[in-house]
Symmetry: D3
Subunit: 174 residues, 6 copies
């Protein structure tokens, strides 16, 4: 991930939300062009295998926990700018949240639900925060629905995995 | 964490937000007593050491990134029931979000900011989701403020570490 | 429904949200006791039989349209006081939204989805508006998801069917 | 209303918010052009004649109930995308909500308030949901303000009556 | 206003939202009793006499500008805790916003609209912020509706004038 | 400020949010071009000198009260259209809120914090309301954080000081 390592230049330029006197502000994007942008984030809700089994089969019509979490993630993406103080409002043109159950193959290993969110916009800044917020809220919604049986679930590895569009162009992480 | 392992009884009782026909609903807490409850959640935003150094010293008045993230976490806790579909509205009586920078002692190790949120209420159900939402939003706010220099940051180990109050009483995780 | 006919007394007493000078205000409920209250509202989204068939079987995993609408209705109930200007904020203790498909038995008759929402609270005023808002938003969510195939759907008969609790006690409509 | 009848093609194409695997998502409108669009929705709050008389004359300065409902409808239109899960955020350029009292000419007939909402935007998708949400919330606001005298009011015939703009062009219903 | 002068004790005790290390948090009110509380705030939107005349008579049905501002103030009071970061959520039991036009008696003097908001709750902390937010938002709503004819309007003297209830008891300002 | 005096023409044209029949509506801006626009508003929170000293030095790390108020102001600017009923939603491209402490030079004079907010957008209407809302909410946030020591603070002179862009072009007030 060499691309993500702060260069001397960015170190010199410092953090973009903080001006010369240390006051925070929303970065000015008025001079940027409105271009198509996409961001994909991922994360993982780690849980006990019995919890995952319950989500998938335990007398519960398959998919309902995921359906609620999917809706929660999509709705949260649309409100990212209300949650993240310096995040710009963006006219989202597409949001999708998907889940992949990960069943452990070795005994004693935890199970997990892999969460992925892709957000697109035609705007002056990228939709990274919207995708990350969607993953976090979708994951915590699964937590909420299952916490009566498993309070030890953990949300892990919430990260940006891909972005494209805008002046900084394409970026991929792991 | 044996306490968190689903017992046969909870497996039989299935997920509390889903009724006998598989329809989701907000769990009825009307018969529960209004009692003092507290929940603490934690998480970790893992980043490059240079990013943490920049937050702490790079021409930036120390604490400003944290001040913004603190406010974001507190405000998000108050809106958890708007984000998490089946979460009950709760009259929060206390919210605090704190940060602990973790500088790596070994070269090549990542740095991190440990995030902790404690939420209290006097209500009919616990404030676990409020604490978890506060941690996630505070962490993503730091991400947002630093993403221009480090897109590879990851939010890790967002989890409940302690709760007290209510019928199920005290619970501690790692 | 004789019970609903305005009596001479209520005509004399006029509308409760409007004071002697005609200014609107939120009615003072501070002297009312906090008691358990419940309200059930219903409505009907009328549609073409082919639209209902599509929701139920057309390549779509059964229930997903309803799952989204269910979540939308529950979340809207929690925000009724943000939408209805003079509605009091209420700590909801239970919300459920259910759907019943109504297939026409006679050719040429429209199909429909019957929507029902039940809301409970322990508060100083009833949850009628929360139940009505849940029905309306759940119905419009189905409209939104199906409008690409049927723009002529109509939301009909959104009404209170039952309430209990509080000083005015039990009330039932059709 | 032949225009609204699902064609074989739309039946084959299925519901636009649901992908091949049955997962819901917000439809991608990124490739659509930003064009002027308008939508008008209507509905009717049916009530007892005495209730309508009270709104219009009963010691209440004429228009105040309508003024509150008008504001409620306009504000709700702006938040339609927060209520309807898969609805795109749209930069509304115009919203108007109007009311027409309908006094029964025959004894025993109910009275009503006809509600109409027109919404315009310059965007990548239409404002149908915004207009429908405005009608529903305006109608329920009147319900809220009058429910102390008439709990049996019903919101009827909430429907799209006209839309223009966008690729699908003009559409009119009844 | 001697009552408002910080005593040595409060100076020593410092600001209540900031802990020993300087981190902000929402003050813990969990140990306070739920008691009836009331707060009244006032402010003044100063404007040109012609602007006030226009609001009152200029072809506009009297009261409509005030009706919109009244609704805006009431709705904002209910959302004060979403706007003011460290403000507790409170179950408001009453909100009223009223306006008094002040016509200048001397030529060259400005006109004004005096805005007053009273908020009541039964809660663990007072509703001062809710009343102040209601006054500010009601005043700015009048500004918004009249700014096409008078951009130089000013919101002045937004202040708490009375509070009662809670441990600190009654307080009156000017 | 001759520029702000209502001309005969504007008097004749009346208030822009109110149509010929006196119904309020959101003004149609669909025909306006999307152009860069900027608005700056200011206000002043007047307080006792001891209160200002406490904010600046009293055991409190300098800047924390301001940091919270800054975040509150920025976040409120983004939600102005949710608070001000007839305000258009705008894609803000820049928001900054700054504070200037004003220490009295003469004994007996009050101290103050001068609040300034600048908002930019590329849109069909100006961002005046967003800037005014940011100032008011930032000021009330300082009030909230200091009210335990000084309830008599007042928010004064909240006004537009500059706007540019759009058909009406540049405007400056005092």
């Amino acid at each position: 991930m060499a691309a993500a390592e702060p260069s001397d230049q960015t170190l010199a330029g410092a953090l973009s939300h903080i001006d010369a006197e240390g006051h925070v502000h929303m970065v000015d994007v008025g001079d940027k062009a409105e271009t198509p942008r996409e961001a994909t984030a991922r994360g993982r809700l780690v849980m006990q295998p019995a919890t995952l089994a319950l989500i998938q089969t335990g007398g519960v019509p398959k998919g309902d926990v995921f359906a609620v979490a999917q809706v929660a993630g999509i709705m949260a993406a649309k409100r990212a700018d209300e949650l993240i103080p310096l995040c710009h409002p963006l006219p989202l043109t597409y949001v999708a949240v998907t889940f992949t159950p990960i069943t452990p193959t070795t005994e004693g290993q935890p199970a997990a639900v892999e969460i992925s969110a892709t957000v697109r916009t035609v705007g002056r800044t990228g939709a990274e925060m919207e995708a990350l917020v969607a993953v976090a809220v979708a994951g915590l919604t699964i937590y909420d629905m299952c916490k009566a049986v498993d309070r030890s679930m953990r949300l892990e590895a919430v990260r940006l995995v891909h972005k494209s569009g805008g002046k900084s162009g394409e970026w991929s992480g792991e």
